[in-house]
């Protein structure tokens, strides 16, 4: 019993992350955009206003080398607006909105604990992106800063491919109009930190 108590304390002392975790509340005025192109035009589809309030948790290791960022955000595919009704319907169909109505971004880690001051800081982190029922891990480039109102602005960007998620980019008129496989995903999250 004494042995267990002692080793338990030792193991707790050696555990990876310091308590407490900081709660990050993602506010509703966050947004996400997806930019792509075809051989005849470019398109930009946005989820203009995030319609949920989600929570992320951030904690750092003693060494500050490992930063855990946990939690996820979900976005309804039907919320995408490509500024052209046909393009909007096409994106929703391509992303299999009827079968998989939401895409999810699960946050996993950051490469360092952000300084969180007014000066934008460039960091990277790992996320799992799930689209159309397929989940894939990506390293995301983030720009992060905190403004005078203590709101944290987390801007993430990453180039992904339709084919990463077993999706086929649409082609029309016997292949004369082709959508490129590459998509640039950008999101801007406004976050309030709660200790």
């Amino acid at each position: 019993m004494l042995y267990l108590s002692v080793t338990g304390f030792v193991l707790q002392g050696q555990s990876g992350y310091e308590a407490p975790r900081i709660k990050w509340v993602v506010s509703q005025n966050s947004n996400l955009s997806v930019n792509g192109s075809t051989n005849i035009n470019k398109f930009s589809c946005v989820v203009p206003a995030y319609d949920r309030t989600d929570t992320l948790f951030i904690s750092k290791s003693k060494s500050n080398k490992e930063v855990s960022l946990s939690g996820s955000i979900g976005l309804n595919i039907s919320s995408f607006d490509c500024h052209n009704s046909g393009m909007t319907k096409q994106l929703q169909k391509t992303l299999k909105e009827k079968q998989f109505p939401a895409l999810h971004i699960r946050f996993l880690s950051l490469n360092k604990f952000p300084d969180l001051n007014a000066q934008p800081e460039m960091i990277t982190g790992l996320v799992d992106i799930e689209i159309a029922g397929v989940s894939k891990r990506f390293e995301i480039n983030y720009q992060i800063n905190r403004d005078d109102q203590k709101t944290i602005h987390l801007l993430g960007s990453r180039v992904i491919n339709f084919s990463d998620f077993n999706l086929v980019p649409p082609r029309k008129l016997g292949g004369m109009i082709k959508t490129k496989d590459e998509l640039s995903v950008e999101f801007h999250m406004n976050i309030k930190a709660i200790q």
Partner: protein, 135 residues
Amino acid sequence: MKKILITGLIAGCVLFILSYGGLFLGVRYFPALFVDYNNPLFNSDGSRDVLFYMHAFIISFALSWFWDRFKTLFKGTFIMRGLEFGFVYSIIALLPVMWISFSSLDINVIMVISWFLYGLAQAIIAGLVFAKVNP
């Protein structure tokens, strides 16, 4: 019958080159006209590409039969016969189809006009081929 098939095949080859060549150049040089095709209304998985590219032959065989049946009604030089044949087909067949398409599908007027002109051009070209090969 053999004459109809051979004439249809020749017109089909000519239309295949001119129609899809024209479409390729249209997409390349007038891309704005084709933006609205990015719509689930149009097949997007490539499963019907063969049918799409067969259209030149389908219309050619149909028009070849029509020409053989009514060619005596078209008088004048081969150019005049080809032009008249194209206009007759467009007014009898294309115009009503375009009308019902525009009234029932979520497509714009530019798209419908372009389809009408595309069909008219195809029928005139086919008419010119028929007037030469099967006068």
